[in-house]
């Protein structure tokens, strides 16, 4: 007898917003291990709100619904508790923390996540951490001097995005959300970042790639594509859906959606 395994990540009927203003209006999504999902949609459709709600931003309110991670509702958890379960959000606009070096920050972050996920004795020594950091920097073709720079301070747009992927590489999440990681990258930087993401992906994890454009999806191949409009997923399909959007834009879907809603 086989039991159907619980999916890694499930969103059920999610209604959420900010300052009483509802942005997500009944969103459902199921993502399982070994899957890359792309979430597309025009500006203001609620993509980044979804990312923040999943990561636990304190300013966002959840009015209804559940987010299950490995079958457990994570909505009552603080952002760090979620991170310690293996969730990761690559920010669209990473915040600068002056005076805090990448290396100091990441060593603390990596070790608190490692201890929570793999056990108290699984923290890395400073030496082990340095070795791991050098390895991941090389993988993302980042200069070693990144380690001693202050977190996101004075980083170019491209450097910030790479730094986010570096953090993902070190934190080894099981479920990663990439919020517009492709925006603001030139074609070479995009390729480097995409190579890094592809190298990090494995059958034990899942990814949700939030993007405005189809461009990134020719480098990171999604298994599923969803289109979000007005706080809901209005269309889901395979990679061909992204190509269709690239040709036709979002307007046809908007029209269809408006029709269905009326």
């Amino acid at each position: 007898m086989t039991l159907e395994a619980t999916p890694l990540f499930t969103i059920e009927n999610l209604h959420a917003g900010i300052e009483g203003k509802e942005i997500l209006r009944g969103l459902d999504l199921v993502i399982d291990r070994g899957e890359i999902h792309a979430l597309m949609g025009p500006n203001g459709s609620g993509k980044s709100t979804l990312a923040y709600v999943i990561a636990g931003h304190p300013n966002y309110e959840v009015y209804e619904g559940r987010i299950l991670y490995k079958g457990e509702n994570i909505l009552e958890m603080t952002p760090d508790e979620r991170a310690k379960l293996g969730l990761f959000l690559a920010f669209q606009y990473p915040t600068a923390i002056p005076g805090v070096t990448m290396a100091n920050f990441l060593r603390l972050a990596v070790n608190s996540v490692r201890k929570a996920r793999y056990g108290e004795d699984k923290a890395l020594s400073p030496r082990e951490f340095r070795r791991l950091m050098r390895e991941k920097l090389a993988m993302l073709r980042m200069d070693e001097s990144f380690a001693t720079r202050y977190l996101n301070e004075g980083f170019s747009g491209g450097e910030k995005k790479r730094a986010e992927i570096l953090q993902m590489a070190l934190l080894e999440p099981e479920f990663a959300i990439l919020d517009e990681t492709d925006s603001g990258l030139d074609i070479d930087a995009l390729r480097t970042v995409a190579d890094g993401v592809n190298a990090l992906f494995n059958p034990n994890m899942a990814m949700l790639i939030i993007t405005h454009y189809q461009r990134v999806l020719s480098y990171i191949k999604p298994h599923f594509v969803h289109v979000m409009l007005d706080g809901k997923i209005v269309a889901s399909g395979g990679p061909e859906l992204a190509e269709e959007l690239e040709v036709k834009g979002y307007d046809w879907l908007k029209a269809e959606f408006a029709e269905a809603a009326s």
Binding site: A55, G56, H57, P58, N59, T78, P79, D80, R82, A83, K84, F88, L89, F91, P94, T95, I97, P98, G99, V100, N104, F105, L106, L108, A109, V110, S112, V113, A116, Y150, L151, Q167, L171
Partner: protein, 470 residues
């Protein structure tokens, strides 16, 4: 039933790591309060020369005449009659570690001093209450002619040097608390660096108050002869008491031509201590004086390290960190007095306020007439951790010359929610995220500290944060 004071003590004792205290074992303790007789007694106990006795008595007159300062922090709860001005812990000064009494050793060990010393300290002058009980000086320093002894020993063994410089940078009538210190001072360090000698290893001293209501009035004098260099490091922790203690030190430094002196302080007095300190240096031609000053503990701190830039090419710097948490007022900053042309100065002040804590920056840049081509830059940044906390800036400028370049910038910021969320989303708890942001904020100053002090400062801030985030 426990009294209010005892409850307070228990509460503080659980919060404050270094809040242990030894049973008091004293050879001599002056009665409470201050008058001519007490001063005479101190001088007699120390077997001092007559000039020092006269110096003390004159200073006492100044002290009694001067009113309490009305600017700055609130000092109205300070009761001068409730303080023991002198406590002598042991009969004579320990020469070697073996001679130091056991209970004092225990205190030092809890503070980690012997270990630190074994590693790389050049010498330890540890002020245990009013008398320096243990002092060691590495032999190679001695061979270089460097003197590093407690002030009382210096009065006895180097009377000419002491008599020449003592009280010349901070005269006894400079301010009420300098007068008080001059009347009742005890302990502190005397450092003499001969011409051209560079002391490569920081000289360190630890200070500690241990008797209830006992003031600590150490007196430090540092002389760096031309071309010399020394880094003096002073770190303080103190146990907790239920009633107010007073710490009022005077530090005088003379930095001669082409010499450099750095004076680093991390003070973490327990939160009932009034910390009212006068620190002043005179820098001569092409000399550099740097004050690095970290103020975490105490109930009230008023401290403005000063540099008098006496001759062309002199340079002064103050790096100041103040952390004011619940019930504390840190009134700190710096003073730069440009007496000569072609002198330069910089004050960088970083303050953090938490809860009902109040951090004030108070600074003075003064340029005397004739001191042209002076450059001075003041930066003061304040970080507020919550809605309640408070910060003030009092930058005084007295510029009597036109050909000068004076810069001043001040910022006030709050810990941004976005920063906290970002760090938390990487697995840091709220308290960890908060202390990381605060430590990053003061990093321009901690990077100037000896490593073990930087680590200690970061840890103390972390302890503060853990108490505040729930």
């Amino acid at each position: 039933m426990a009294t209010e004071a005892e409850l307070e003590l228990q509460r503080l004792g659980t919060e404050y790591k270094y809040g242990f205290r030894d049973p008091e074992q004293y050879v001599f303790k002056s009665r409470k309060g201050l008058d001519r007789e007490v001063v005479e007694q101190i001088s007699w106990m120390k077997n001092e020369p007559d000039w020092m006795r006269q110096f003390r008595l004159k200073a006492l007159e100044y002290f009694l005449k001067r009113p309490l300062p009305t600017w700055g922090a609130d000092l109205s709860e300070l009761d001068f009659d409730e303080i023991h001005y002198y406590v002598k812990p042991t009969e004579r000064q320990g020469r070697s570690w073996e001679e130091v009494p056991e209970y004092i050793k225990q205190t030092f060990e809890r503070l980690g001093i012997p270990e630190a010393e074994r590693k790389f300290l050049a010498g330890v002058g540890a002020q245990y209450e009013s008398e320096v009980v243990y002092h060691s000086l590495r032999e190679d320093l001695e061979r270089q002619g460097v003197i590093f002894v407690d002030m009382d020993t210096a009065v006895r063994e180097y009377p000419d040097l002491v008599k020449r410089y003592f009280g010349t940078i901070v005269p006894p009538n400079d301010n009420k608390f300098a007068a008080l210190n001059s009347a009742v001072w005890s302990g502190g360090s005397f450092v003499y660096v001969p011409e051209g000698v560079r002391v490569e290893i920081p000289l360190q001293a630890y200070f500690r108050i241990n008797a209830e209501n006992m003031g600590q009035f150490e007196r430090t004098l540092i002389i760096v002869e031309p071309g010399g260099y020394v880094h003096y490091v002073e770190g303080c922790t103190a146990p907790i008491y239920s009633t107010a203690s007073l710490h009022s030190a005077v530090v005088e430094i003379i930095v001669k031509e082409g010499a450099r002196c750095r004076y680093t302080t991390i003070q973490n007095w327990s939160k009932n201590v009034y910390n009212l300190v006068t620190k002043r240096a005179a820098a001569y031609r092409d000399a550099t004086m740097e004050w690095v000053d970290g103020n975490l503990g105490s109930k009230v701190t008023m401290k403005y390290p000063a540099v008098w830039l006496m001759e062309p090419g002199a340079r002064g710097e103050v790096l100041s960190v103040a952390f004011a948490s619940d019930g504390q007022h840190q009134d700190a900053g710096g003073k730069m007095v440009h007496v000569a042309p072609y002198t330069s100065s910089q004050i960088i002040s970083k303050s953090i306020s938490k809860g009902t804590g109040r951090a004030s920056y108070r600074g003075l840049v003064k340029v005397h007439r004739g001191a042209h081509h002076v450059r001075s830059n003041v930066v003061c940044d304040a970080l507020l951790l919550d809605e309640q906390s408070r910060t003030d800036t009092y930058p005084y400028m007295e510029i009597e010359e036109e050909q000068v370049s004076i810069g001043h910038e001040a910022t006030v910021s709050k810990v941004a929610e976005e920063q906290l969320f970002y760090l938390q989303s990487r697995g840091l708890s709220e308290a960890e995220a908060m202390s990381m942001i605060v430590n990053g904020f003061i990093e321009p100053i901690t990077k100037e500290l000896p490593l073990e002090y930087a680590v200690e400062l970061n840890r103390l801030i972390q302890l503060e944060m853990e108490g505040s985030v729930g």
